[in-house]
């Protein structure tokens, strides 16, 4: 299971970076989504996977009697998902607006104002 996730993280990161380097705006957006998901799975993986043990400890137990899943990575991922949701929503609107004002999907054509020195 861990090996599978490691491979998945690798694929998501490399595909994400590859897509960001393309010239199309839609691919840029997809690249960011993949990168964000890759980072979330990485955090999940780094917290050490514990199968079928929810991080809920019975109130009667004073000592740990079993191996429980680490709740911190789950909390981190939840926060990171919400943040990346907000950022992605903003990026979609921004790129849509850019497409409307410039009429192109090509990121390389957005350098007009950089030319005047």
């Amino acid at each position: 299971m861990e090996l599978l996730l490691v491979l998945l993280v690798g694929i998501l990161y490399s595909a994400g970076i590859y897509l960001i380097l393309r010239r199309s705006m839609v691919k840029l957006l997809l690249g960011f989504m993949m990168l964000g998901n890759g980072a979330n799975i990485l955090i999940f993986l780094m917290g050490e996977l514990t199968k079928g043990k929810a991080p809920i400890i019975n109130g009667d137990n004073i000592h740990f009697t079993d191996a429980y899943a680490d709740p911190v990575p789950q909390a981190l991922i939840l926060t990171a998902i919400v943040i990346s949701f907000g950022l992605t929503a903003f990026a979609i609107i921004l790129l849509k607006k850019v497409h409307e004002t410039t009429g192109t999907d090509d990121l390389d054509s957005l350098n007009i104002q950089d030319l005047d020195i």
Partner: protein, 503 residues
């Protein structure tokens, strides 16, 4: 010392932002509430700084969960200084925006987002938890995205694409670094991390994590080779927004870098070498980029990049005296860069253009204002006794002592180019006669009502006075910087103030 007061600067701006929501369409009320909020924020930050200065570090464990389990807020002298600077700039720019921002921007929530941005900055400076730092970073960048794109002009959109892309990439890298750090140490508290980092056996993994942090913060603070988003976006929003961005956002990256690389990671020779090389390249590319630009704000954008190099070089030298220089330079830089952007906005208001070859005759028309602008320009260049001079001397001296003559040469080169460009701006904009009076170039400043003119000039003069005071009263700033540097070189002070209950 444990105190709830540490949250006051954050809460002041959060409450202001919430109150502003109730005056969504009432422009006049928004301006009043924003200025009051900024004044309260300023007073509270001043008090926080005074408390930290007298009693030492302050900490707050959120919800009573003791470190390292809960989220900690820490204010050491560096944090308190940065909060103080943020408050000064936010007050000045807040007053400036009441006159400089047009009504449609205010109707779409300019002040509301502005206060959230300041809140995010204060949070980033005060937090003691590395994941919490990430969250504050996101608060800041999402607010900055909105401020940058509000208005939706074509050039704003073009700049925003680059800005948004690079900042989202930086966040992803930062998050990855946090994930790996948690995996190898099992902690997120900045004060708790060093003992775990030191215990990790796989040193290669630690170096990789440190480099990931460096790249993440490096993009945010615009160091070579990841700086190009800054000059292509910072001149697109209105000057008031540029002032906050230019003064504070990149410094947030530098602050995080200082924090992480003094407390969490003990940089080895390899890391310090990376710092020095990056600093040299940043200074050279920033300085050379500024030479052939004609737009004042574009010149300034490259100056920001160039002067970030000074700070990174100081961190790379990693001695107590170098840190004194870094902190002093940080204090000077925040004030002067913000003021420079506001000054460029004022010039645009008066002459419509920001192209230095089409400007001129400023000294003849506005002699008093020109003297104020002169103070800003020459403290940026570091003419003694103005504020930029003292930290530069320290950095030169440390580079000389370290026998790193390439670095010393670059520092002098960047300084010289800065002086050259500042002198050129002075002669083109202020001394030279106005080239040919253009019919479109009408003065929007003179017919402005008295209160508006005052709101535009007062913050610029105020920050210029602060620059002058930093230069003339350097001994106090030195004292602050020395204390900060002492705390940075002895991270156990920071760690003990958070973990004292474990003793």
């Amino acid at each position: 010392m444990i105190s709830n007061f540490i949250l006051a600067p954050i809460l002041a701006h959060m409450i202001t932002a919430i109150v502003l929501l109730f005056f969504w369409k009432n422009v006049q009320a928004q301006k009043t509430v924003s200025v009051i909020g900024n004044i309260v924020g300023f007073l509270v930050s001043w008090r926080l700084f005074a408390l930290v200065w007298e009693n030492g570090n302050m900490t707050l464990q959120m919800g009573g969960w003791q470190a390292p389990f809960g989220i900690t807020f820490v204010s050491d002298t560096l944090s308190a200084t940065m909060v103080m600077l943020t408050a000064i700039v936010s007050l000045a720019v807040g007053i400036y925006s009441t006159a400089a921002t047009n009504i449609s921007r205010i109707r779409y929530g300019h002040f509301f987002i502005y206060h959230f941005l300041i809140m995010g900055l204060m949070g980033a400076f005060l937090t003691g938890d590395i994941f919490n730092l990430y969250v504050w970073f996101e608060v800041v960048i999402i607010s900055s995205f909105v401020l940058l794109t509000l208005g939706g002009k074509k050039r704003q959109m073009e700049g925003a694409v680059k800005y948004v892309t690079m900042n989202m990439l930086a966040s992803s890298i930062f998050l990855t670094a946090i994930g790996i750090l948690y995996g190898i140490t099992g902690s997120l508290n900045i004060a708790d991390l060093p003992q775990h980092v030191a215990a990790v056996e796989n040193r290669g993994l630690v170096t990789v994590t440190a480099l990931l942090f460096f790249v993440g913060f490096g993009i945010k603070s615009a160091v070579f080779p990841m700086y190009y988003w800054l000059p292509s976006s910072y001149h697109t929003p209105p000057s008031a927004i540029g002032a906050v961005f230019g003064g504070l956002l990149t410094k947030m990256g530098v602050y995080s870098m200082i924090r992480v690389f003094t407390v969490v990671f003990e940089p080895d020779d390899f890391m310090l070498g990376v710092f020095i090389v990056i600093a040299i390249l940043t200074m050279i590319s920033g300085a050379l980029g500024a030479i052939n630009k004609r737009n004042i704000r574009r010149i300034l954008s490259y100056f920001i990049v160039c002067h970030i190099g000074y700070l990174i070089a100081g961190i790379g030298m990693y001695t107590e005296l170098a840190f004194v220089g870094v902190v002093f330079y940080l204090i000077h830089d925040v004030i002067v860069k913000s003021n420079f952007f506001m000054m460029s906005g004022l010039i645009q208001k008066i002459r419509v253009t920001q192209d230095i070859y089409r400007l001129g005759g400023f000294y003849k028309d506005y002699p008093k204002l020109s003297i104020v602008f002169g103070i800003i320009l020459f403290s940026l260049a570091g003419i003694p006794p103005l504020s930029g001079f003292w930290p530069k001397i320290l950095l030169f001296q440390e580079a000389f002592k370290a026998e790193n003559y390439v670095l010393l040469g670059t520092l002098i080169f960047a300084s010289f180019i800065t002086l050259f460009i500042v002198a050129r701006i002075w002669s083109e904009v202020f001394w030279k006669d106005l080239p040919k009076p253009n019919a479109e170039e009408i003065d929007h400043f003179a017919p402005f009502h008295m209160r508006g003119r005052l709101a535009l000039v007062l913050p610029v003069v105020g920050l210029a006075v602060v620059s002058l005071l930093i230069g003339l009263n350097a001994s106090f700033v030195f004292e602050v910087a020395e204390r900060v540097a002492h705390e940075l070189m002895n991270p156990s002070i920071y760690i003990d103030s958070v973990m004292h209950h474990l003793k």
